[in-house]
Every structure is written in structure tokens, then in C-alpha cells.
């Protein structure tokens, strides 16, 4: 009964989305306020029905309703409740419902927090988002319905893939999808502006907070995915340039370019058409990512089961959405003005060159990911493009980007002079260079790549300190000055510092990580990285839906016990799938990572054990956290919190 209600709710939601996608847009085009004002009520009601549908599916999982095919494929009665709930989005159909739910949520948020926007703009923005919603609901109802019945019902489910039975599944997809879907807001704003013919600095100001919030979620989602892979897969890798990972990285890169481009447009009313194009591109890449993961076009460890029918649907949807947007862009963009003036050497120009770099970086990831497809389609045979390519092409682009990151916040708007800027930064550069050259020596091994990575990181740190010093230092009340800086200024510094921390993490781990794959008899000791790892044997334990061999490893330093580690080799009851659970001891300076290999046959309990030392690896995700924090600070800036009364006094700068 409940699944049928869920199915029915989806149909109603589709109907409401169709109304939302058409009536307000027509209303705005014809200056019909009655039609235009249907946007908000339709947004609210559509959300309600998607929530009902989602809750119905959750219910089916929680009560073990194995007459629903999707539940039978992804759940099991022995599965812990928390994973039964997260299994809702563990497979293709359910993850689409999560997409639809989060999209409904964003539509709701825009409907609620847009009181200060002109009615026709709200109508268009919500209308465009409604059309996107139509696409996903239709996709579900036509090809991927999570409520399809399995008759006769299965006695028990096939169990959720053990790799997914982890807190990672609870947080990573929802957060990532919040980012993917969130870029649809910037997209909708861009389309609305193109439709209305009104594209100015105010449009940028309205778009910016929404884009930043989506970007924050995307940053968190990707970081979570990386961390999850690290501790789950058992051999300490954290990024593989896998097509699905790239599919999330590309919108993130363009999203970053978009945030910075919006800054220029908001400030100067300049480069509006480029910003609009970026907004279209960011969401287009989100949709493209969805396509790549679900169509079977590329091989990836993450892909959902593929089906050509589904592939054709998403591709058609993609083509319509992106194609129409780009045609609209080609038609309307020439009429957009140029905006305010600024020099070749100015902060605006630096921001724009950073845009170029980010776009080229995105393009290179794109080319690398899709090249196998291009080659195959042209009949040139099969090709593999893996990490060696991406590292060779992507990493060099980071260097000029980081250079800009340091100079940008210091450079003046409109015009700066090179000698003056160079004079201001000379000490920052010198100190960064010194640290970069000397620090590797403390770790024992020196290499040019390590030094380069550290130079980049400390360049950002040094210029940040310089900027803070210039603004907060000097005579007068420090606290007053500190409070005088806008939150978006602090947000920017935090986010850039996050990048620096991230680069330190990546550089140190790549340069100094060690791995030992050893045979350990009970009582054996491995000396590595200044630690002694003692293997104390393995005991059999039972989990809620698995049995495991639990290893006990004591770790000491200079004879003193530091920690006990318990790596596991699990076998899940239902699927029989084996899985390694690594034991990790995390600290500020690095991780100790121990995982069990295989038991050695014909020995008295000896096992193959893998021990990794990963210096500074947590700085990678700490850096991402800081970046996200920076974004949160930036959105909290006072200028976005102004009341309606004050805002109506602000006159929008008309771009010329």
C-alpha cells in the first residue's frame, strides 16, 4: 500500500512540476502576475509530495518490505537500521529520488528566501528549476521507478554492498547531491536573466550566495568521498582520477571559477556573459556527471548498473536542457553590455586569469575522462587514460593559479602597478621560498617537487599574513579594525588558507609516505617510521551481519605504548563478500594505517599485514574543511542579510 502511495505522490509531484515549469515562465513573459505568482505555491506543494514519496521509500526499507524490488536488491533483514535508511540512496533508482528530494528542497529555499527579488525573476528562476525537476521525475517514472513491485515478494533481500555499509554512505551522497543540485540555482538565475534580458551587477549579487552555498556542499561532499575511499578500500589511496570522481570535480572547478567571476560582475558589472556561461556550464557538468555514471558509457568503480534505455533518456534530457540554454545564450548574450572599466593589471584581471586557468583545468579533466570514448567512437580502438595523464596535465596548472591566489587579494581593484605589488610581496615570497627549501630536509629527503609544493602552500600562507597585517596592523584599535573587515574578506582568507593546508597535505603524503607488506607471526615486530608495530595475533568476532577475523596490533614508540590497533577481515553473512576494515590511528602529523592481508597457510597463525605511514594526510581533508568554512563565512556577510527595507533603497548599477 505504502509503495503505491509513494508512486502516486511522484506522479502528482510530476504534474505540479510541469505546472511550475510552464505557468510562471509564461506569466513572466506575458506580464501576467497571476500566472507568475503561482510559482511559490507550486514550489511548496511539489516539495510536499516529493517528501511523501521519499518517506514512503524509507518506510519500505525500515519495515523490510521485500515486495518492493528496489528494497529486495539493496537491503536485508540483518542490516542495521541506519544502513537500511541510507540504503534508500544506495542504488540507482533511490539515488534519483534523493536528487529529486534535494532539488525540491532547493526550490523551496529559493521560494522562501527570495522576497527581495522582483516577481518576474522569482517566477522564471522557480520555473526553470521546475523544468529540471520534471526531467528527473519523468526519468524515474519512465525508466527507474524505485517503487516497482517484486511479485512474489522475496523472502529476504540481497543485502547492501558491504562497501556501502558505512557512515560514508550516510553523509557523502546527500552532501554531494546538495552541491550538484545547488548549482541548478545559479543556472536558473542565469537563464532567468537571459530570458528577462536583465543582466546586471544586482543579478550577480543575488546569485552569489546561492552559488557559494552549493559550492560549500560540493566541497564537503567530494572531501567526504575521498576520505571514505581512503579508510574503506584498505590501501590508503585518496583520489584515483576515476571517471565518477572527475564527474564531481569538474563542476566543482567551474563552480570555483563561477564564484570568482561573480565577484568581478558584482563589483564592476563586467564580464557578465562569461559569468552566465560559467553558470550554465557548472550545472551542465552536474548533469553530464549524472549521465556518465548511469549510462554505462565509461568504466568506473563507482558506476551504477547501466541500461541503454536509461542512457538515452538522460542524454536526451541533457541535450535539451543544455542545448536550449546555450542557444538562448547565443541569442541574448550579444546584447549584454560590457560593464565597468578596469586595467590589464588589476584585481579584476587577476580574477579573470584565474578563471581561464580553472576553465582550462576543467577542460583537461574533461578531455582525459572522455578521450577513451572519443577514440572508440572514431574507430581508433580502445585507450586508457589514468592517473599518470591527469597528474602530468593538471598539476602544472595549479602553479600559476596559486600565484594568482596570493596576489589577488592584495592587488587593487581597477588598476595596480607591478613594481608596487612586487615590493609589497617580496618578503612574503622570500620567506615562503626559504621554508620551502629547508622544510623537506627536516623530513629526511629533499626533492624539487616537494619543495615546489611547499613553496606554493607557504606562498599562500605568507601573502595571507601580509594581507591581514596590512589591514589589521598599524596604529589604532585592533579590535575595531578586525571587526571592520567584512566576513567575506575573512571567508576568502580562510578558503585560500584551506587550499594551502590541502597542498601541504598532498605534498607531504606523496613525498614521504611509506608502505610495508610483511609476513607477521604472532609476536613479530615491524620497525617503520620510528614506530614498532607488534602483531599479537587474530581472534574471531561476530558483527551484526558479518563474521570477522580481528587482528591486534600494538604500536609503540621508544618502548612506550602509543596505541592498540584492530584491523579486521570481515565476511558478510548474506553476500559472502569479504572486506578489509583498516585500522587507522590519526594524528596531526600523520596517520598510521594497518590492514590485514591473507592468513599464511601452514603457519601458527601468521598473517600478511600491510602497514602504511601517511604523514600529514589529514591535512588534505582539513584543508577542504577550511575551504568550506571560508565559504560559509562569505555567505554570512552582512550585505546578504540586509532587510527588505534597506535593499529597496539600493539602486542597481546598470551596466553599459
Amino acid at each position: 500500500m505504502i509503495p503505491e502511495i509513494g508512486n502516486f505522490a511522484l506522479i502528482i509531484a510530476l504534474f505540479l512540476a510541469l505546472c511550475l515549469g510552464s505557468l510562471p515562465i509564461i506569466g513572466a513573459a506575458r506580464d501576467n502576475t497571476v500566472l507568475a505568482d503561482t510559482a511559490r505555491p507550486l514550489a511548496y506543494s511539489q516539495f510536499v509530495f516529493i517528501v511523501i514519496a521519499f518517506l514512503c521509500l524509507v518506510y519500505a526499507f525500515v519495515v523490510d518490505d521485500f515486495s518492493v524490488l528496489y528494497v529486495a536488491q539493496h537491503s536485508n533483514s540483518q542490516l542495521p537500521v541506519v544502513y537500511k535508511v541510507s540504503a534508500v540512496w544506495g542504488g540507482h533508482e533511490g539515488s534519483l529520488l534523493l536528487w529529486a528530494l534535494l532539488l525540491g528542497g532547493w526550490i523551496l529555499a529559493v521560494a522562501m528566501y527570495s522576497k527581495h527579488l522582483p516577481g518576474e525573476m522569482v517566477a522564471r528562476v522557480l520555473g526553470v528549476m521546475g523544468l529540471v525537476s520534471v526531467g528527473f521525475l519523468l526519468f524515474m517514472l519512465l525508466t527507474s521507478n524505485p517503487f516497482n513491485r517484486l511479485l512474489p515478494a522475496a523472502a529476504d533481500g540481497r543485502d547492501l554492498n558491504p562497501l556501502l555499509q558505512d557512515p560514508g554512505l550516510v553523509f557523502h551522497p546527500p552532501m554531494l547531491y546538495m552541491g550538484y543540485v545547488g548549482f541548478s540555482v545559479a543556472f536558473a538565475f542565469a537563464i532567468a536573466a537571459l530570458l528577462g534580458g536583465r543582466l546586471d551587477a544586482t543579478w550577480a549579487r543575488w546569485s552569489r550566495p546561492w552559488t557559494t552555498v552549493a559550492w560549500v556542499f560540493m566541497t564537503g561532499g567530494i572531501a567526504l568521498g575521498s576520505w571514505w575511499a581512503y579508510y574503506e578500500l584498505g590501501w590508503g589511496g585518496w583520489w584515483f582520477w576515476d571517471p565518477v570522481e572527475n564527474a564531481s570535480f569538474m563542476p566543482w572547478l567551474i563552480g570555483t571559477a563561477l564564484i570568482h567571476s561573480l565577484a568581478v560582475t558584482e563589483k564592476r558589472g563586467a564580464f557578465k556573459s562569461w559569468t552566465v556561461l560559467l553558470a550554465i556550464a557548472a550545472f551542465s557538468l552536474s548533469l553530464l556527471g549524472t549521465f556518465l555514471v548511469r549510462s554505462g558509457v565509461l568504466t568506473s568503480v563507482h558506476s551504477f548498473a547501466s541500461d541503454p534505455k536509461r542512457g538515452i533518456f538522460i542524454l536526451s534530457f541533457l541535450v535539451i536542457v543544455i542545448g536550449v540554454s546555450l542557444l538562448l545564450f547565443a541569442w541574448r548574450a550579444p546584447k549584454i553590455g560590457l560593464g565597468g572599466k578596469f586595467d590589464l593589471l588589476s584585481r579584476e584581471a587577476l580574477l579573470l586569469s584565474n578563471n581561464v586557468l580553472l576553465s582550462v583545468a576543467t577542460a583537461s579533466v574533461f578531455i582525459g575522462t572522455l578521450y577513451p570514448l572519443f577514440m572508440d567512437a572514431l574507430g581508433y580502438g580502445k585507450l586508457s587514460v589514468g592517473p599518470p595523464y591527469f597528474e602530468a596535465v593538471f598539476v602544472p596548472l595549479i602553479v600559476p593559479m596559486v600565484l594568482m591566489m596570493g596576489l589577488g587579494p592584495l592587488a587593487r581593484w581597477k588598476k595596480f602597478t607591478l613594481p608596487e605589488l612586487a615590493r609589497r610581496v617580496r618578503w612574503a615570497f622570500a620567506s615562503a621560498l626559504l621554508i620551502a627549501l629547508l622544510l623537506p630536509l627536516t623530513m629526511g629527503e629533499w626533492s624539487a617537487m616537494t619543495a615546489l609544493g611547499l613553496l606554493m602552500a607557504f606562498w599562500i600562507i605568507a601573502t595571507t599574513i601580509l594581507s591581514l597585517h596590512e589591514r589589521l596592523g598599524g596604529h589604532g584599535n585592533f579590535m575595531q579594525r578586525a571587526r571592520g573587515q567584512s566576513l567575506s574578506y575573512y571567508g576568502m582568507q580562510f578558503a585560500h588558507l584551506g587550499v594551502a593546508i590541502f597542498i601541504i597535505g598532498v605534498t607531504m603524503v606523496s613525498s614521504y609516505e611509506t608502505e610495508r607488506d610483511v609476513r607477521m607471526d604472532v609476536g613479530d615486530v615491524l620497525r617503520e617510521g620510528g614506530y614498532e608495530f607488534r602483531f599479537n595475533g587474530v581472534t574471531d568476532i561476530e558483527g551484526p551481519n558479518y563474521v570477522a577475523a580481528e587482528g591486534r596490533v600494538s604500536v609503540s614508540k621508544n618502548g612506550k605504548l602509543v596505541t592498540e590497533m584492530f584491523p579486521e577481515k570481515r565476511q558478510y553473512n548474506v553476500s559472502g563478500m569479504p572486506m578489509t576494515e583498516a585500522a587507522i590511528k590519526a594524528s596531526l602529523l600523520g596517520d598510521l594505517y594497518v590492514s590485514l592481508g591473507e592468513p599464511i597457510p601452514d603457519s601458527a597463525g601468521a598473517w600478511a599485514v600491510r602497514v602504511y605511514i601517511k604523514p600529514f594526510i589529514d591535512w588534505i581533508w582539513a584543508g577542504c574543511l577550511l575551504m568550506g568554512l571560508g565559504g560559509v563565512l562569505a555567505v554570512s556577510d552582512r550585505r546578504y542579510r540586509m532587510r527588505r527595507r534597506t535593499l529597496s533603497k539600493i539602486v542597481a548599477t546598470e551596466g553599459k
Binding site: S273, L277, I280, S284, F291, S295, G296, V297, L298, T299, P308, G311, I312, L315, L318, V319, I322, G323, L326, L327, F329, A330, A333, P334, L370, P372, L373, F374, D376, A377, G381, K382
Partner: protein, 175 residues
């Protein structure tokens, strides 16, 4: 001003590629060995392990070389076709038992029938690597000069047999 249409044009080209891509199978890896001499090998026979069999023994004959294993489920699907083919006596079929146990392979053949003129055992999979085997079953068509003329990855189907393999065999036998 024409530059504004550029994004659309680029996208249109991309979309075309993606549509084509839907029809392709990224898992299928064609073999670089087609058109090249089959790698030489000498392996023990399955039923008489003291006896060896070499690639050289097949010089001057057109033959099918089928890589299979008792643990391979897809092999069960293509096997009836080989049984039928052996009854028709068009072309000799030689089998290579890949990474298998002798008892398991013999039992499997007892159960499903034996279409092979001869079966060799590649217990360690080394000859398989030489032949670029990565997913059993795989079938090769080898000509009188010992050159690999065709390789099929995965289970052979009625369609592949009638459209690709048999016509090629007839053509090679006529030379």
C-alpha cells in the same frame, strides 16, 4: 559576435559523440594479436598429461582455439554451440583449459559434452597471458600459416558464429 554560438557548437559535437558512445561497449578490448602469428606454446594434454601438444602441430590447418574453464559460467552458455559445431565437422575445435583443476575440467566435460579434438591444460595461465586472455571464454580463429585471424571475447553466440566465424573459416580453408 559569432563567438557566442561557439559553446553551442562545441556542445553539439560532444552530444554526437555521447550518442555514439551509448552504442559502444567500453568493456570490450580488441586484441592487438589479430593478424599476427599465434604465440608458440607447448602444453600438457588434459586427458593424457604425459603427452605434450604444441602450436606447431597445427601448421597447415585452419582451426578454432577456445579458451574455457570449469569455473566459468559464460562457458556453459556457448558450449552447446561448440557441441553442434563439432558434430557438423566443419572445423576442428581445440580447447585450452585455463587456470583449472584437471578433475574439475574432466567432470565438466563429462557433464556438458566434449566437442574438442584435443584439450590442453594451462594451469598457471601463462599461455593465456601470451594470448592476451583477460576474460574467459575467448575464441580464436587461426589459419594454415598459424596467424590469428579473429578473436572473440566472451561467449560465442549463434549470431557471431554464423556471421563472423564460419564465413571466415570457409574463406581460410579455401586458401
Amino acid at each position: 559576435m559569432a563567438r557566442f554560438i561557439l559553446p553551442f557548437v562545441i556542445f553539439a559535437i560532444l552530444a554526437a559523440f555521447l550518442f555514439v558512445g551509448l552504442g559502444l561497449n567500453p568493456h570490450e578490448v580488441p586484441s592487438p594479436l589479430v593478424g599476427k602469428p599465434a604465440p608458440a606454446f607447448t602444453l600438457p594434454q588434459l586427458y593424457e598429461p604425459e603427452k605434450q601438444f604444441s602450436l606447431q602441430d597445427m601448421q597447415g590447418k585452419v582451426w578454432l582455439f577456445n579458451v574455457w574453464a570449469s569455473w566459468c559460467t559464460a562457458c556453459e552458455y556457448e558450449h552447446p554451440l561448440f557441441m553442434e559445431l563439432s558434430r557438423q565437422n566443419i572445423v576442428p575445435i581445440y580447447g585450452m583449459d585455463y587456470k583449472d583443476k584437471r578433475e574439475d575440467a574432466e567432470a565438466w566435460l563429462r557433464r556438458h559434452g566434449n566437442p574438442y579434438t584435443l584439450v590442453v591444460s594451462d594451469t598457471e595461465g601463462r599461455v593465456g597471458i601470451d594470448y592476451g586472455v583477460y576474460g574467459v571464454p575467448e575464441t580464436y580463429v587461426i589459419d594454415k600459416q598459424g596467424v590469428i585471424q579473429y578473436k572473440h571475447i566472451g561467449g560465442v553466440t549463434e549470431q557471431v558464429l554464423s556471421e563472423k566465424i564460419l564465413p571466415l573459416v570457409k574463406e581460410l580453408q579455401a586458401k
